[in-house]
């Protein structure tokens, strides 16, 4: 028996600049900065005001929470079309639970009731996520079909529960704290809440074993299975996470709008997917980051707000987003093809 002794060859450590240049999120971040700068130059008096920033941030915070969950799902090379209606469903179950606890009207309910409402929202979302994940990972039905099914089913279930009309009584304690309150000299609580959730999501995906397995499953499911990762279990957990975050987003939406907004979340799923993909997460799986998603989510929001301010018809916004989105996927595909030919 011989032992190999050999000096370790110096492995070239990539410089930070080089690594950043290779990251999709850097480029999309630059696009965002350029957009803000362009709108800022065209109309500096309106664009960079506190009120505008607040509006953009609040409007985006619910979508951001959905998109964090979507990032995990898309990194596994899956898709979740159900997040918007799961949000609505969770809002309904949460509002109804809070009302039931207060004998029908929860407007003056205390913090205990609010916390129960939050838990109910998250659990309702996670339950849909579990159903999605189980059907995808165990029954091997394509994610597109499973979540298209739950997209319809969750909205139907929400309307069944609420009788088709919005639940309008929400605890004031919730609406005035999370919904419209501000902290630290004017930062909306909604934004802080979304930022905390996003930071936890970024930590989970970027630095933990759960995140590493998420990338591995998306990059090569067979390889992940062979190394002893339980792919089925992991996929179920990822879809549950996306569902739970949709539930949390439902709770946030409830706090902000003080109603369940049954009809206004039909395209949330598409917005979340667009934001995630714009942020450099690959629909082919294995690549992506929560930081990228943050940037990606703000691009449509900034475009929308910018067009309103500079007087361009807002109808241009979806067209502009569509162009950037398709270009982003095209870029990703070209890059992959170039890599795989080596």
């Amino acid at each position: 028996m011989t032992t190999v002794t050999e000096t370790v060859p110096p492995q070239e450590k990539r410089s930070l600049a080089k690594r950043l240049a290779g990251a999709n999120s850097l480029w999309i971040g630059l696009v965002l900065l350029v957009l803000i700068a362009v709108f800022g130059v065209i109309d500096p008096t309106h664009v960079l005001t506190v009120f505008n920033l607040q509006t953009v941030l609040i409007q985006t915070s619910v979508l951001l929470v959905l998109s964090v969950g979507m990032t995990f799902v898309i990194v596994t090379s899956g898709i979740d079309l159900s997040v918007g209606t799961v949000l609505v469903f969770s809002g309904v179950t949460s509002a109804q639970t809070m009302n039931a606890l207060c004998g029908g009207d929860s407007t003056n309910a205390g913090w205990g009731v609010v916390i129960v409402g939050g838990v109910v929202a998250v659990v309702s979302g996670a339950a849909w996520g579990f159903l999605n994940g189980w059907l995808i990972a165990r029954a091997k039905i394509p994610p597109l079909i499973v979540t298209l099914g739950s997209f319809g089913a969750a909205l139907g279930a929400a309307e069944l529960l609420s009788g088709g009309s919005d639940v309008r009584s929400v605890p004031n304690a919730l609406a005035q704290s999370l919904g419209s309150g501000t902290s630290f000299g004017g930062i909306p609580n909604m934004v802080i809440f979304a930022a905390v959730v996003t930071a936890i999501g970024a930590w989970l995906l970027g630095t933990t074993r759960f995140g590493r397995y998420t990338y591995a499953v998306g990059s090569n499911e067979v390889a992940a299975q062979r190394t002893g990762i339980s792919v089925t279990r992991h996929l179920v957990l990822v879809y549950m996470l996306a569902g739970a975050l949709a539930g949390l987003a439902g709770f946030m939406s409830l706090a902000y709008f003080t109603t369940t907004t049954l009809t206004s979340h039909g395209t949330d799923n598409l917005n979340a997917i667009a934001g995630t993909v714009l942020g450099g997460t690959s629909v082919f799986g294995g690549v992506g980051s929560v930081i990228g998603t943050v940037i990606g989510v703000f691009i449509p929001a900034v475009l929308n707000q910018g067009f309103v301010i500079i007087g361009v018809k807002p109808f241009w916004q979806p067209i502009a987003v569509a162009i950037v989105l398709v270009a982003a996927v095209w870029f990703d595909q070209t890059r992959r093809r170039a890599r795989n030919q080596r």
Partner: protein, 215 residues
Amino acid sequence: MLGKQLDTMSASAGQSCRAPDPLVRARRPRPLSALRLTPHRERGQALVAAHEAPDLDPAANLYLGREIKRKGMLGALGMLDKAEMRRRASEEFGRLGVTLQSVDVPIGSLSGGQRQSVAVARSVVWASKVVFMDEPTAALGVVQRERVLDVIRKVRDAGIGVVLISHNMPEVLSVSDRVEVLRLGKRVARFTASEATLTDLVGAMTGALVQEDVA
């Protein structure tokens, strides 16, 4: 057995290979596919699955499924010690003579030979006694193939048994110590590699040469 390389060859591709008794310490020979991964790890054995996650870097691939966590509370929450994994991966790659330009690019951007070397290293690092490799050099070019064979030799030199399953006779002769020829699911010949010739091997594979003492 330690430090030896054993080659088995089956006359037809896709035939299930039966692992010889002493290696797996099973009462009866079992098809290779029936052996689960976990008991392997415990016995210090590992299978080279030529699969890796192309979007992860070599260090991540090396430690996939066996990640090193941070110490303390953050580790308990599942946080990984990436620096430590990268450092140890560099060390292991150096030990096995796997040269990579960088340990933090996605493995998909490496050449086929480097990728395969990482896959071989992956299995070898976790093996302490024996590694099974099924056609590890298939689909590689001449240069890359040589690189993988070098890694295999280093593994052998480190005292780990390698069972190499291959149809490539010159390759078999160049890396192995002992050659077992399988034909129609049975061992039909056994050679010492240094004494065997290409003709012997091909003869045994096709049934032209029959050894009396085996089978």
